[in-house]
């Protein structure tokens, strides 16, 4: 059995409601590794309740339906699905606490061919329950590697070209060996990120970091480089996942800026292993 385009296109993903506290926002920031310099005010703003701000990338973990494609009847082969792309567009700053509703729709099923798979794109509207205002649009893509050749929507890949010069900024962020164990407390309990046996079965030598955490690390790198005291100025961001990060590795993010537009990519220091490619971001 293979992916049935019409069925999946009409598939309804259930809304998610999530109430989170300032403590949850702090735990998310600590999970990313913020606070490594506990005297740096630009880090303390994400971890101290008396001056708390949120990292925009937290929007992508708050009310996203995890593993929705595991539900019966989607026709997707869930065993072969990997997280492929992540992005967000902020409409207003994410509150440090509150109740949010996530409404997710499948927006595109792109057939990349039998040997590659089908790219499943979703859009998650993150809504503040208090006033029903839209906080953020989260765009995620997963590659269903077992479902290529399904005959989906036409490819919409845009041109991507960053300035051909040395990066305007480079930020490296080290991760802790226990980073995935701390990060998962923000809600993604997939054993791939904690259980060595499970990781081996999935083809990795040891548990890997969450893709959304790599994305969060790059988000923090961008903020450090371009808006360290005003994180809310970073209003758009997107990237493609190339390789997973192993907890303990150091992520180097290279950034180019032209006016409000930023291009970036992230790699592992010392290995030239690309982790995030086709990175783009926008400042307000």
């Amino acid at each position: 059995m293979t992916l049935h385009y019409e069925t999946l296109k009409k598939w309804k993903i259930k809304d998610i409601e999530r109430t989170y506290s300032a403590k949850d926002s702090i735990l998310y920031a600590l999970g990313i590794g913020i606070g490594q310099d506990p005297l740096d005010e630009n880090q303390l703003q994400f971890v101290l309740e008396d001056r708390l701000r949120t990292l925009p990338a937290m929007s992508v973990v708050l009310a996203y339906p995890p593993l929705w494609y595991w539900e019966r009847g989607t026709t997707v082969n869930p065993l072969k699905v990997v997280h492929a792309e992540q992005g967000f567009v902020m409409h207003r700053p994410l509150p440090v606490s509150g109740t949010v509703i996530g409404k997710t729709q499948i927006t595109a099923i792109i057939d990349k061919g039998i040997s590659v798979g089908a790219l499943l794109r979703t859009e998650n509207q993150l809504i503040d329950k208090k006033d029903q205002g839209l906080i953020c649009t989260v765009i995620s893509s997963s590659m269903a590697r077992g479902d290529g050749g399904c005959g989906g929507d036409s490819d919409d890949q845009k041109e991507y070209e960053f300035p051909s010069r040395l990066p305007d900024a480079q930020i490296s962020i080290s991760t802790l060996p226990q980073a995935a164990l701390l990060y998962r407390l923000s809600g993604d309990y997939n054993p791939l990120h904690a259980d060595p046996e499970h990781a081996t079965k999935a083809g990795f030598s040891r548990p890997i970091l969450h893709g959304r955490m790599s994305f969060g690390l790059a988000n923090w790198a961008l903020i450090q480089a371009f808006c360290p005291t005003q994180p809310e100025l970073l209003i758009e961001m997107s990237a493609r996942f190339a390789k997973p990060v192993i907890p303990g590795e150091t992520l180097l993010t290279k950034m180019w800026r032209k006016d409000k537009k930023i291009w970036f990519c992230s790699e592992i220091v010392g290995s030239n292993k690309s982790v995030l490619t086709r990175g783009e971001a926008l400042l307000a």
Partner: protein, 295 residues
């Protein structure tokens, strides 16, 4: 205004009830350094939900009336008050998730005289609400450096005198490096005293940077003893107590020196780089080797 002896001795603290989850138990394990080797089965057993165990010292952070001595408004000078002693006596294995309750009681005030401070002793029993089972007795003291000469009955905690360190080199040494952000993580257990997080508040209290929670160092000592003497089996520990003798700063590397004599442990903790003994007069009682190692 000085410490009001009568008022403090008669102080009644309301009962605290706390419902804690496996996430809380995992976060506690992570905050003691478990998981720093993320593929080590033993480390994982304290930070991963499959076959999860609770570190016994977690009793100290459960259903705790954090900051009660400052809220009590009994005249103590809070900026000069420091954690003096911590001990627990364990009756049952801590569940990895349940609802617990406890009531704190002041047990005594030890007046060291003017210029020497006063020690406020208190304890609480931690029980599981569902079963009514008593899980642990938690005893602690705050050393109120600005409140000596408060008067009242002379109170002596005779059983809490610091014991002599054995004359031989330690039988075990466990070396742990703490994370620079450790206090920021540990405070999520409930002690939001800004002295552990806000550089300006720490400076006002006389420290050039925020200090680590004493209860975190205490938890690491528990980890060290479990690893060195109990094959990391929480069932092996009966009781553990220590005096706090100097602050630890997040990022410090700490040596836990452990002497084992039959089922009794003496321990201390040292930050070698600063030549500081941070825990002294530590003592622990273990169950028999058969029980510790599950023979």
């Amino acid at each position: 205004m000085a410490l009001d002896y009568e008022k403090l001795m008669a102080w009644q603290e309301p009962e605290i009830i706390q419902d804690y989850s496996i996430q809380d138990t995992i976060l506690y394990g992570l905050s003691l350094g478990y998981g720093s080797n993320p593929v080590d089965e033993n480390d994982l057993s304290f930070v991963y939900e499959r076959q999860l165990k609770a570190v016994p010292s977690m009793a100290t952070i459960l259903a705790s009336p954090w900051g009660w001595l400052y809220r009590a408004k009994v005249g103590i000078n809070p900026t000069l008050a420091v954690h003096g002693f911590q001990g627990i006596h364990l009756y049952k294995i801590l569940p990895v998730a349940t609802e617990v309750g406890s009531v704190l009681k002041v047990t005594g005030i030890e007046d060291k005289g003017p210029n020497h401070g006063a020690i406020v002793w208190f304890e609480r029993n931690l029980y599981e609400t569902k079963s009514g089972d008593l899980l642990a007795t938690i005893e602690a003291s705050m050393f109120c450096r600005g409140d000596g000469g408060c008067g009242g009955a002379k109170y002596e905690h005779g059983h809490r005198q610091i014991k002599e360190r054995p004359m031989r080199p330690p039988d075990f040494i466990r070396h742990y490096t703490t994370l620079s952000q450790l206090a920021l993580i540990f405070r999520l257990h409930g002690d939001f005293n800004p002295i552990h997080a806000d550089p300006l508040v720490a400076l006002k209290a006389g420290f050039n940077r925020p200090i680590l929670h004493g209860l975190c160092t205490y938890g690491m000592a528990t980890k060290a003893i479990l690893e060195a003497c109990c094959d990391s089996n929480p069932k092996g520990l009966k009781s553990i107590s220590t005096f706090f003798s100097a602050p630890v700063f997040p990022g410090d590397a700490i040596d836990f020196r452990i002497w084992l004599n039959h089922n009794s442990v003496y321990f201390e903790a040292v930050v070698s780089l600063r030549d500081a003994i941070v825990l002294k007069g530590g003592s622990a009682e273990l169950h028999s080797a058969e029980k510790r190692f599950g023979l």
